[in-house]
């Protein structure tokens, strides 16, 4: 029973981490909390659903379609809403509010098209086989979710640490002005970051849709709240923090459902987050940021 819960928790945590990693990267680089990340997540799920149901796409191409659609959405959000405010030097609050607008537009448009009902992937999309791995029963679906999430996160970390553009992203995260003085096109880096991070959000969306086999137009809200909790818990802007935070939230949710009551799931897991923040106010990997001036 307990080992089974671990399998569930791992799959859930993997998706939380995947969602939060892009969310935290955007904050780290653009210094904006993009409240459209949940809507982008939902777009990814629907894009995957359409790829499967209408075009009979396989798993890899479904994932790819989700990431492209969501990545494009992120690109457009930056182009239309966040970027212009950044150029006019409205930092933080105005772009955040602009992203609420984007989220509302996306969500209501999708509701207009798809309605409020839940959609499902075809039954046999992922065969319901399961494997025994060190005593834990993992379904093929769970293995796929964990595997894809880990793979994407490793790719992102490799990109940030080893490639020319990845290093440029880290330079901009630390200091856009210094980055510009090195000849880095800072605006392009902002847009690239929004696109990649949103693509990760889209991947998390389609994996969540597969995990619970439910997709609906308002699935972006709950994950957004969890995403915010996860990145605060992990330390704003910190990639490792997003991964660790996702793990903690996923496990606390699954274990509180299994051993206490599903009614109190959110109360317990978010209560735990508060407790951790009381001990480490800037998050697990967070640096203490002093206000300047």
């Amino acid at each position: 029973m307990f080992l089974q819960q671990i399998a569930n928790a791992l799959a859930l945590s993997a998706v939380y981490s995947l969602f939060a990693i892009g969310f935290t990267l955007i904050f780290g680089v653009l210094e904006v909390i993009t409240l459209a990340h949940g809507a982008v997540f939902m777009m990814g799920a629907f894009a995957g659903l359409i790829a499967v149901t209408k075009f009979n796409a396989g798993l890899a191409s479904t994932l790819l379609v989700s990431m492209i659609v969501s990545g494009l959405a992120g690109y457009l959000i930056d182009l239309i809403a966040v970027g212009p405010l950044r150029k006019r030097k409205f930092h933080h609050l105005a772009p955040m509010i602009a992203t609420i607008g984007c989220a509302t537009i996306i969500t209501s448009t999708y509701q207009g098209i798809f309605g409020a009902e839940a959609y499902r992937f075809p039954f046999d999309f992922v065969p319901s086989t399961s494997y025994d791995i060190v005593g834990i029963q993992l379904t093929l679906l769970q293995l796929i979710i964990i595997g894809i999430s880990l793979f994407l996160m490793v790719v992102l970390i490799f990109f940030l640490n080893k490639t020319r553009w990845g290093k440029a992203v880290r330079a901009v995260a630390e200091n856009p002005r210094t980055a510009a003085l090195l000849g880095i096109p800072v605006e392009q880096v902002f847009r690239l970051t929004m696109s990649i991070s949103s693509a990760f959000g889209g991947a998390a969306g389609v994996l969540t849709g597969l995990n619970f086999n439910t997709i609906h137009t308002f699935m972006g809200g709950p994950i957004l709240h969890r995403g915010i909790a996860v990145i605060i818990l992990g330390g704003m802007g910190d990639i490792r923090g997003a991964m660790a935070g996702g793990l903690i939230l996923g496990f606390s949710e699954i274990l509180s459902v299994a051993y206490i009551s599903s009614d109190f799931r959110d109360a317990i897991s978010f209560g735990l987050l508060f407790l951790i923040l009381l001990v480490r106010p800037s998050g697990i990997f967070g640096k203490v940021i002093e206000r300047k001036g």
Partner: protein, 234 residues
């Protein structure tokens, strides 16, 4: 090769530059001296395109770059080492150098150039895999200069390279600046340490509250009564 024509720049609603004209010729070291707040950094930032001039023109090899973006100005060969070094503290020393070459694509030559930065500043090689934030002030200045050299600049803009450094370290840094110039890079140096700046430069400009009040060869500025009184400590 670089010319500022009657530049006016506003900075946070303050008129920081009120009609600056200056030139840097090929192979020169030009010093820009003046008190705190005279507009020295703003002048460099206007050249680099970080702040845009409200009026006037920045010409680089007779091309107007007043409205160009910072990264394209760097690509063109004007590279700034900003005040307070502004190294990337969360990146490794070697990564800072690699990013200095961001505008270049000749990866093989980049490796060689990192080696030559290391031979110019051996301490950086020792610290190559450390986070740049762990370096001392002097080492950070070396990194900042080394990183700027990675872009293969035609003109190097140096903003207060002596700031916060011990006199002996400053001497070393200035020696290296001279060396870089001898290898063919023109230099525009902004300094509060006017004596040091005038000793290594060919010509100098004196900046006072956004205006150039004096311009001469550095040798004559060093003996100019007004300059001695105001900037060389009597």
């Amino acid at each position: 090769m670089l010319e500022l024509r009657d530049i006016y720049t506003n900075y946070d609603h303050i008129r920081a530059l009120k009609g600056i004209s200056l030139t840097v010729r090929e192979g020169e070291i030009v010093a820009l001296i003046g008190a705190n707040g005279a507009g020295k950094s703003t002048t460099l930032n206007t050249i680099s395109g970080i702040v845009k001039a409200a009026k006037g023109a920045v010409l680089y090899n007779d091309k107007n770059i007043t409205k160009s973006s910072t990264h394209s100005i760097v690509k063109g060969g004007i590279v700034q080492v900003p005040e307070g070094r502004a190294i990337l503290t969360t990146l490794k020393v070697i990564e800072n150098l690699e990013l200095g070459a961001f505008i270049r694509k000749d990866s093989h030559q980049i490796k060689n150039d990192i080696e030559s930065v290391f031979s110019r500043f051996p301490i950086l090689e020792k610290r190559a895999n450390q986070l740049a934030g762990t370096l001392s002030g002097g080492e950070q200045q070396m990194l900042a200069i080394g990183r700027a050299l990675m872009a293969k600049p035609k003109i190097l803009l140096l903003d207060e390279p002596s700031m916060g450094l011990a006199p002996l370290v400053v001497k070393g840094i200035f020696g290296i600046i001279r060396e870089i110039n001898r290898e063919g890079t023109s230099i525009l140096i902004v300094e509060q340490n006017a004596r040091m700046a005038l000793q290594i430069s060919n010509r100098g400009y004196v900046l006072e509250t956004g205006r150039i009040v004096l311009e001469d060869s550095s040798a004559s500025l060093l003996t100019n009564k007004k300059v001695i009184e105001a900037y060389l400590g009597g």
